[in-house]
């Protein structure tokens, strides 16, 4: 293990390390801690200039209640879920199929198609912006959740295919050969042999895609414009306009908007980290 395990070092360094850890963490998360403190302060603290002192009273519950009752925030949150969840499902369906095809079969254009997905996944959004916006307008899907979902599914298929294909490549190929010898139809191999083995990879991918899509801002701005379809990342700018310099509300709103992927991360931590590194660093 590198660096030298702490239990093999001198006692003073051990104590220093134990002390440094929480200190470093606080420094690292300082901007977030500040926002968390802001979000439980009463409005009066900001008018009297008490920005960094202790809150004069604890208004956390009132502030967060106000986020949910006095703004469009619940609407935006719901939109975010209604955009993110169908996208995750769509990506799983499409990329488990493309990953299966590219991971199991050997045919001439295999690598070419694979690289097309990978390359597409890296292109800057701006090169797609105008045509995709036009397409969405022509389909009558501008400012709808459906318009966003379709695009997100298509774009994330690039990343997800990379992910799935590398995972399937690592499976023991004898399993598939054994199934073929048994005369099992190819689609059954997909459904009964490969798919069950892919469960951990699918979970990892689902968490990742959830985070990516929840946090998307660019496409939300390009393809939607009002509270009827906008997700929370785009909605928070109108929320901010509504509350102006009411920093306690802005902070509470930001925390609410950031929370779902954070919760997802903590619930599925193992999968999340496996997902970030899969296919690359094993």
């Amino acid at each position: 293990m590198f660096p030298t395990p702490i239990e093999k070092t001198s006692r003073p360094w051990q104590l220093t390390y134990q002390g440094l850890l929480p200190l470093a963490l606080i420094m690292w998360l300082l901007p977030l801690i500040a926002v968390a403190i802001f979000s439980v302060k009463p409005a009066a603290d900001f008018t009297t200039g008490n920005y960094w002192g202790a809150p004069s009273s604890f208004e956390g519950i009132a502030n967060y209640m106000a986020v949910f009752t006095q703004s469009d925030m619940p609407r935006y949150l719901l939109n975010s879920f209604l955009i993110t969840i169908p996208t995750v499902v769509g990506c799983i369906v499409l990329s488990s199929m493309t990953g299966f095809a590219l991971g199991i079969y050997r045919f001439k254009s295999n690598l070419l198609i694979f690289f097309m997905f990978v390359a597409g996944n890296f292109v800057p959004f701006q090169i797609l912006m105008i045509p995709v916006r036009d397409l969405t307008l022509n389909l009558g899907l501008y400012d709808t959740k459906m318009g966003l979902v379709l695009f997100h599914i298509a774009f994330q298929t690039g990343f997800c295919t990379l992910f799935m294909r590398n995972f399937i490549r690592a499976l023991p190929f004898e399993l598939i050969e054994a199934a073929r010898v048994e005369g099992i139809a190819e689609w059954r191999i997909y459904w009964f042999v490969v798919l069950p083995l892919m469960k951990p990879a699918l979970a990892a991918m689902a968490v990742l895609v959830f985070t990516f899509i929840w946090n998307d801002y660019f496409w939300a701005v390009v393809l939607t414009q009002g509270p009827s379809a906008q997700p929370v990342t785009a909605g928070i700018t109108s929320f901010n306009a509504q509350f102006g310099v009411a920093y306690h509300m802005l902070s509470a709103g930001s925390i609410v908007a950031a929370l779902p992927p954070v919760a997802m991360f903590f619930l599925m931590q193992k999968h999340f980290i496996a997902g970030l590194t899969l296919g690359a660093v094993k």
Binding site: L25, F107, I127, V262
Partner: protein
């Protein structure tokens, strides 16, 4: 096939076309929906943008063919020059996330009580949307009450208005972007460090290597895959930077924090008028820059594939 002259009691049923070509056809059936989606929303739009960059179009009326006029205009556009230069800054300074991530990973690569929680909390910034990161840092930099100036005040410095100063603003935004990006690189390195071969470390220790020499000659070569992924995601992240700029400064002050991705959006879709063709030309330039890196990434992956 010859037809049996004497009819069998159970004639072998002629297999369907699909059954006969199952192995060859199945991958294409499985690929069809994915390729269709990807072609419509990603591949074809790239070519459409290339085409559109040769037109003048306001998004509503008729598009008018103007040849390379949009590109000629880019050559003399000061705002484009500023954006391009800022992209270079982003590329250069965003890469600091890699050594910073490695540093934190080395710091956290221990087995003390509660270290798992520490690692998760250090990773935290990456999970938060860039919109929220932008808001948080905008307050952090706020000249009247921001934490940065409060701290600078304690040591008798400041106040500085990072986001209001054309010379500092881009660096300020990059610093905000480095926060989640460092967390990302950190987690990649932590996983990589887990896989480092302990025997090689022991051998290194016996040879008297320690500290930086150990890191450089024994650990880093084994972390190469992690470094490669860090490099890929950081370059992509630098060239995709949009959210932070839009939230923190909206390109200002006086357009000094624009990058190509933001400038393109501004030209094509914001109140400055709907110049779709000109926007497409900017996007093409950004795409070509990215293409250099994409080609390199694909080349590396290709070598890797061949190796197997």
């Amino acid at each position: 096939m010859t037809v049996a002259t004497v009819p069998d009691m159970n004639p072998p049923r002629r297999k369907s076309f699909y059954k006969r070509n199952e192995i060859a056809l199945t991958p294409w059936l499985f690929l069809a929906p994915g390729i269709l989606f990807f072609a419509i929303y990603v591949i074809i739009p790239i070519f459409q943008s290339f085409n559109l960059s040769l037109y003048a179009w306001d998004g509503l009326g008729e598009a008018r063919y103007v040849g390379i006029a949009n590109y000629q205009e880019l050559m003399t556009d000061r705002a484009f020059e500023v954006s391009l230069w800022n992209n270079v800054k982003w590329l250069a300074f965003y890469l600091l996330a890699i050594p910073a991530g490695l540093f934190i990973a080395l710091f956290l690569n221990q087995t003390v009580v509660g270290i798992r929680l520490y690692k998760s909390l250090f990773f935290f910034p990456f999970v938060i949307s860039q919109v929220v990161v932008g808001l948080v840092f905008a307050w952090f930099y706020n000249p009247s009450f921001g934490l940065l100036n409060t701290i600078l005040g304690w040591v008798g410095l400041g106040p500085i208005n990072v986001l209001g100063d054309p010379t500092m603003v881009t660096y300020g935004i990059i610093a905000a972007g480095l926060w989640p990006q460092t967390a990302y690189c950190m987690i990649l390195y932590l996983t990589g460090l887990n896989a480092v071969d302990p025997e090689q470390i022991e051998a290194g220790r016996l040879d008297g290597a320690k500290g930086f020499r150990m890191l450089w000659h024994i650990i880093l070569p084994q972390l190469k895959p992690a470094t490669f992924i860090c490099f890929v995601v950081t370059i992509i992240g630098a060239l995709r930077s949009f959210d932070l700029i839009s939230i923190m400064t909206n390109g200002g002050p006086f357009g000094s924090s624009r990058v190509l991705s933001f400038y393109m959006f501004e030209k094509a879709l914001s109140e400055y008028g709907f110049r779709m063709g000109y926007g497409a030309a900017i996007a093409v330039v950004l795409f070509l820059i990215m293409l250099v890196f994409i080609a390199y990434f694909l080349f590396s992956m290709f070598r890797e594939e061949r190796g197997h």
